[in-house]
Subunit: 401 residues, 2 copies
């Protein structure tokens, strides 16, 4: 039977995650995988989890397995409130921060409405935005704050002149996925000014914020403009992704719509997992685990950067080959000569046993075919060394170097 005529119009804009489809095709442990954004399994404190789970069964009991409140379990909202200094009534727990992105889009965007993002941006967000038929516009910019603001204003003006409705700016200000870059404070202020000027909101997606390996924290966009910012957080990178828990900080008038939406989406987040997460934060396990994760990931990042420095060509035919130097997070972004096609090259690399994500998937405007995202959290240092050596040799061959 052909079901095509039965599908909704939104389905015409669904697109598959090439990252998730890689996971369907290959066993990540059998190859050198710089694809994905998986935290290292070594950071999961299994014995802490076992102890906290047993405690929740003893102390919370059956209530931890019953239906829970749609806004999330009070204990968890309270520990997040005191950790991040945000009032409880401004906190909604989500069943993963991907759900945070999705529910914000659902509540704010009609087909054709404009979302401004950096170019490149997070693939899962682009998937969600497009699935609601948003008009996603990637904004390219350099390091200068005036140019940065001008680029966003130009994109906004263009959308307005086309009669489009502007809804929000989507930003991953800390150790961006995929670029690894951090937005300086002045840029954050300019983003807020621009949003205010055009009556837009900002969706600040910050799953890596606490994974900083050097340098100083930059104030969150939410802390600069809590009235117009929906801040998304996640337990995936600081505890474990298997719990599927995240949060939204936002003005209560915005959260109220999200709350009603979440009722019909899935009633409430996983309840037992929330109690475990609340204790993980409250008893200091989170901070202990964070220190260990930071030490581990810093080492991996350093190895990746060192190996790129040693083995990757730095230029060819007068064109630079460059990569970012992230102060935190999970990703380094590699830029190859304009003629390099990282989508086509992907099969060559995979056949040889090394995977990455082609950069063009992250670019809303389809550019960036000469870029790739390299993850450094998943593999051991030894495997990162071997993997980069292999990848560099394949790229040299491709470039006839």
């Amino acid at each position: 039977m052909d079901y095509t005529h039965l599908f909704s119009s939104d389905t015409g804009s669904f697109f598959r995650s090439p990252v998730r489809d890689i996971f369907r095709r290959v066993d990540l442990n059998a190859i050198y995988s710089f694809a994905g954004g998986y935290p290292s399994a070594d950071t999961f404190p299994l014995e802490d989890f076992r102890r906290l789970m047993s405690e929740v069964i003893d102390e919370v009991g059956a209530k931890a397995f019953q239906y829970g409140a749609t806004q999330g379990v009070t204990e968890l909202r309270e520990v997040l409130s005191s950790r991040y200094g945000v009032p409880v009534e401004r906190i909604q727990i989500t069943s993963s921060s991907q759900q945070g992105i999705d529910v914000c889009t659902r509540v704010l965007v009609d087909p054709g409405d404009v979302i401004l993002t950096s170019n490149p941006s997070y693939l899962g967000a682009l998937q969600s935005f497009r699935s609601y038929r948003a008009d996603v516009r990637g904004v390219g910019y350099g390091p200068d704050p005036d140019e940065f603001e001008a680029a966003y204003r130009m994109a906004a003006d263009k959308a307005v002149s086309e009669g489009k409705r502007l809804k929000f700016i989507y930003s991953i200000p800390d150790f961006q996925n995929p670029s690894g870059e951090t937005l300086p404070l002045e840029h954050r202020r300019r983003l807020v000014e621009t949003a205010r000027r055009y009556g837009m909101l900002i969706v600040e997606d910050s799953p890596y914020r606490e994974l900083r390996y050097e340098g100083q924290d930059v104030p969150s966009i939410y802390s600069i403009a809590p009235d117009i910012t929906l801040h998304l957080g996640s337990f995936s990178k600081i505890m474990a992704p298997g719990f599927r828990l995240g949060w939204i900080f936002a003005h209560p008038d915005l959260l109220d719509k999200i709350y009603v939406c979440k009722q019909s989406l899935d009633l409430c987040p996983p309840v037992f997992d929330q109690y475990v997460a609340a204790r993980f934060v409250a008893d200091g396990s989170l901070d202990r685990n964070l220190s260990k994760s930071i030490a581990l990931y810093k080492g991996k990042r350093d190895v990746l950067l060192e190996m790129l420095e040693q083995t990757m060509p730095h230029d060819t035919d007068g064109e630079d080959i460059r990569w970012t130097h992230p102060e935190g997070g999970l990703f380094v972004f590699l830029k190859l000569p304009e003629s390099f096609d990282s989508v086509k090259f992907y099969d060559v690399a995979l056949d040889a046993g090394v995977a990455y994500v082609a950069g063009s998937f992250f670019h809303p405007d389809g550019s960036g075919r000469n870029t790739m995202r390299l993850n450094f959290s998943f593999m051991t240092e030894q495997r990162i060394r071997e993997g980069i050596r292999l990848l560099s040799s394949l790229i040299r061959k491709e470039l006839h170097l």
Copy 2:
């Protein structure tokens, strides 16, 4: 700041669950609550959970806390496949069966498309359908299969004559929520015939199917017409709702769209919880727990029916007062005289310390103000006795009996 102009058109059709809002207002343990559809906390086998969780940590290890496959963990899909005789490739795990309803609607329904439901039907489904601006039409019918089919055909013909697109029939065939009634086999066949005649699908929502206290199982609609049925199942009533796990059985061409949609919704269901659920089914804990739950709920149902028989007036002014006699599930549906307003009466009852859900909330056409849904799974037999005695006396007073 006023955010109104920023909200999507869908939000205009969001409506709050009066059931979930009751839980925000009152502590369910402090009153006689026939509201909600909560399973009894006494059915949660805490020691089984503790043991299985520890086993998963020992035997699956870190993988249980990593990101998982979007379609669900293979082990869980395999145990469901062998338990229910459905091929693995036709099984999608969902983050609750409420998500199953939501994702089916998202994938199938454009604003204005028609969904036929029984009248009354499950409130959470109505919330989800309306949130996508579906045109939901409740179909009323009697016990005769010809009349039943005629009612559905009349509703479908009417929609077609209005130029509407028919998408699916939503049915809860086993111990329906809220009515408690079970659709006989002949009615299921007629539903399938009707769906085929009009090129519609059927969404079969069956969270209570295994909670049967008397009588014989009726074949699922999915087993009669697997090519046009999306069957939704849930761990909430047979294991515990706090895990937020359910499943969809459907044709792979339908599941494929659901799979891509779920990628952007929340990437994957809770991973650790899925491993626990897989073992809960595989090692026989589920069946042991089901036997205990059935014995417990049968007792509670019997007490509720007995107390209604003893204390509730059977008629007034020549009008019958009737209630359903469910063979399973969690609910009895009470029909009072036409003039009775169960929405208005709700505050009287709550002030006196007893809660129910007004029947009109379940009726897509807004009728049924003289009905109420009574849950019997949540409270102890003793509290059911006291609660029905109180409710009956309040109703008698309201009816001047």
